[in-house]
C-alpha cells in the first residue's frame, strides 16, 4: 500500500531502500547524510524484511563489504558524503571492473578536503568522469526532491542489475536535509538466489551447485582480455545512453534562453525561470536527471533554438564543460554558481543570466570568458 509521509530526503531514501527489497546496507556516518544509517538502524529492517544494516569501521570497509555482498548477487547499498565517497573510490572502480551491481549514494557537501557540511554540487566531475581509476563510468541519478530521493532507490537497483554496474545517486545536503511530502512505494520482497538467477542470469557466486564456476574479478593480466572487458563496459555505457537517459524540460517550448541545472540547483533555477518570465525573459530549464548518460542530443537541438545557455551548479564550473561539448559552440555557454556550501538564490541566477547571456540582446562570442564565480 502506498503511503503519504512528511520526510527528510535522507530518511525517504533509507525507507525506500527497505521497500526496494535491498538485502544489505553498509555505511559509516558523516554529515549531511547520517540520517540514512540512523533511520535504517531505527527501523530494525532485519525484522521487517531481513535486510542487513551494518555500521562498518570505515568507509573503505563499507564499500568492500558492498563488493562482497554484490558478488553474491545481493541488492546492496552504501551512502556517504563527499570526503567519505572519495575513500570509497577504489572500491567503486573495482565494482565497475568486476561488473557488480551496487547503489552508492553521495549526499554532497562542500569541498575539497574536509570542506564544509553545507550543500554543494562540487562532486559532479568525480561522479560523472570517474573518480576511481580506469576506463569506467557510473550511471548517475540526480534527485531534485524528497520524492525522487525515494523513487530513485528502486530505479537505481533496477539499472544496477540490468547492466551489472555501480549506480550513483548524486544528491546534496539540501535535498538530504529538507522535508517534503513523499508517496512511498509498496514494499517489494527481497529476491531469493533462484529468483536473481532467473531474472538476471547466473553470474553471482551463490555456490556452484553443479553449474560452471562463476568468477567475479576485475583482474585480467592478459592485455587482450583486459581490453575485451573494457570494450564490454563501453558497450554497456552506450546502451545506457540509448535506453536509460533521463531528463526533464521545463518551459523549453518557446525558450530564447536556457538554464541547465540538476538536483537542488534545478529547483532553484526553476524559480529563476518563473522570475525571468515575469520580467519578460523567455527562459527555459533543461534538467538532466541522469548526469551519465547526459542529455547531449537534447542540448544540441535546443542550441538551435536558444540564444545562450547558462549552466547553474553549486560549484566552480564542472557540468558546464559537458554542456559546452554538447552545444558545440552554436551559442554562448556560461557558468554560474556559488561554492563552498553557499546556496545561490533564484534572484542571483536570473541576474547572472541577464549579465552573462542576455546583455541587452547582444550576443557575445563564446570564447570571451569571465570568471564564473561572483
Amino acid at each position: 500500500m502506498s503511503e503519504l509521509r512528511l520526510m527528510k530526503g535522507n530518511e525517504a531514501l533509507a525507507e525506500a531502500a527497505i521497500r526496494a527489497g535491498a538485502d544489505a546496507y553498509f555505511g559509516y556516518p558523516i554529515t549531511p547524510q547520517s540520517e540514512v544509517i540512523e533511520y535504517l538502524m531505527d527501523q530494525r529492517p532485519e525484522k521487517r524484511t531481513g535486510m542487513v544494516v551494518l555500521q562498518a569501521e570505515s568507509e573503505i570497509a563499507a564499500i568492500n563489504m558492498v563488493y562482497g555482498a554484490a558478488s553474491s548477487g545481493k541488492r546492496v547499498m552504501t551512502s556517504s558524503s563527499s570526503p567519505g565517497i572519495s575513500l570509497k573510490m577504489e572500491g567503486i572502480s573495482y565494482l565497475a571492473g568486476a561488473e557488480l551491481p551496487a547503489v552508492i549514494v553521495n549526499v554532497v557537501r562542500g569541498g575539497p578536503g574536509l570542506g564544509t557540511i553545507q550543500p554543494s554540487q562540487a562532486d559532479y566531475n568525480q561522479a560523472v568522469k570517474g573518480g576511481g581509476h580506469g576506463d569506467y563510468r557510473m550511471y548517475v541519478l540526480a534527485p531534485a526532491s524528497v520524492q525522487e530521493m525515494s523513487d530513485f532507490v528502486s530505479d537505481a537497483f533496477d539499472i544496477a542489475f540490468k547492466y551489472r554496474t555501480p549506480v550513483m545517486i548524486l544528491s546534496d545536503g539540501l535535498i538530504g536535509q529538507m522535508m517534503e511530502k513523499v508517496v512511498l512505494k509498496d514494499e517489494r520482497k527481497r529476491l531469493t538466489d533462484a529468483e536473481i538467477d532467473e531474472k538476471y542470469g547466473s553470474w553471482a557466486t551463490t555456490g556452484r551447485k553443479g553449474r560452471e564456476r562463476n568468477i567475479i574479478t576485475s583482474l585480467y593480466l592478459e592485455a587482450e582480455r583486459m581490453e575485451q572487458r573494457v570494450r564490454k563496459l563501453m558497450n554497456k555505457y552506450q546502451r545506457m545512453e540509448e535506453e536509460d537517459l533521463r531528463y526533464e524540460m521545463i518551459h523549453c517550448d518557446d525558450a530564447e534562453y536556457l538554464f541547465v541545472a540538476y538536483g537542488s540547483s534545478a529547483r532553484i533555477a526553476q524559480k529563476a525561470v518563473e522570475l525571468g518570465r515575469e520580467k519578460g525573459i523567455k527562459v527555459g530549464l533543461l534538467r538532466p536527471i541522469t548526469l551519465f548518460p547526459f542529455p547531449k542530443k537534447q542540448l544540441f537541438e535546443l542550441a538551435d533554438q536558444v540564444k545562450g545557455v547558462l549552466s547553474v551548479e553549486m560549484n566552480a564550473g564542472q557540468m558546464v564543460d559537458d554542456v559546452r561539448l554538447a552545444v558545440e559552440h552554436k551559442v554562448p555557454v556560461e557558468h554560474f554558481g556559488r561554492t563552498g556550501g553557499i546556496i545561490h538564490t533564484p534572484e542571483e541566477i536570473l541576474e547572472a543570466l541577464e549579465q552573462k547571456i542576455v546583455k541587452d540582446g547582444s550576443i557575445r562570442h563564446h570564447t570571451t570568458r569571465e570568471p564564473s564565480l561572483l
Binding site: L6, M178, I268, Q270, I343, T345
Partner: protein, 191 residues
C-alpha cells in the same frame, strides 16, 4: 497560491518544530509542502531558521531570498530577515530581547508577547506554539485541526499529555497578537 515563510530565532526555541508542524498541517490538507532548515555546526543558543513553503502547485526553489511572511524570534534574525519580507508581506515577532524594532512601513508588522505568555503558562517550551497561533490568526494558511494533528504526529508519544497545553498555547497566541505601528513605535490595536 503559494506561501513562502521564514521562521528564525535561537536554536532551542522550537523554530524547526514550529516549521515542521506547519508543513505537516499543510500536507494534511492536500498541499505541496517544503521544509528547509538552515543546518550547520549550530547548537542551543546559536541561530536557527527554517523555510516553509505551502503551495497548490509543484514547489520550485526550497531556498529563497524573499518571503511572504517572516516569524522572528530574536534580534539577530530581525537584523537578517526584516529586509527579506516582500513588500505587502507580514512580519510577526516576539518583542522579548528585541532592541531594534522593525521600521519598514511597506509591510504589516505584528507583535506576539510569546515569551512572557509562555512563562505565565508555566511552560516556556510552548513559546513557539503561541507564535504559531498568532501567525495563523493573521494568515490562516492551515486549519487549526490540522495543526493539532501535525503536533500529535511530530511530538513523541511520551509527550502526548502536553497536547492540550499546546492547543491552549495556540489559542493564547491567536488572542494575543497586536498590530505594531512603526511610526509611533507602539503596539496599537488588537489584530
Amino acid at each position: 497560491m503559494t506561501q513562502e515563510i521564514i521562521i528564525a530565532g535561537f536554536g532551542g526555541q522550537g523554530v524547526l518544530s514550529m516549521g515542521k508542524i506547519l508543513a505537516y498541517a499543510g500536507m494534511l490538507q492536500g498541499e505541496e509542502v517544503c521544509w528547509m532548515p538552515s543546518y550547520g555546526p549550530e547548537m542551543r543558543g546559536g541561530t536557527a531558521n527554517v523555510t516553509v513553503i505551502l503551495s497548490d502547485d509543484r514547489i520550485s526553489s526550497p531556498y529563497l531570498k524573499v518571503y511572504d511572511t517572516a516569524i522572528i524570534l530574536n534580534q539577530q534574525s530581525m537584523d537578517k530577515f526584516e529586509s527579506a519580507v516582500k513588500p505587502g508581506g507580514v512580519l510577526v515577532y516576539d518583542p522579548n530581547g528585541i532592541t531594534h524594532h522593525p521600521t519598514r512601513s511597506d509591510i504589516d508588522i505584528y507583535q506576539v508577547d510569546g515569551y512572557r505568555l509562555a512563562s505565565e503558562m508555566g511552560n516556556k517550551k510552548v513559546f513557539n506554539m503561541i507564535l504559531l497561533g498568532g501567525f495563523l490568526k493573521i494568515k490562516p494558511v492551515v486549519k487549526i485541526e490540522n495543526v493539532l494533528k501535525g503536533l500529535k504526529e511530530s511530538l513523541p508519544e511520551r509527550y502526548h499529555h502536553l497536547l492540550p497545553l499546546n492547543e491552549e498555547a495556540i489559542n493564547k497566541g491567536m488572542q494575543s497578537i497586536f498590530a505594531y505601528d512603526v511610526e509611533k513605535q507602539l503596539v496599537l490595536e488588537h489584530a
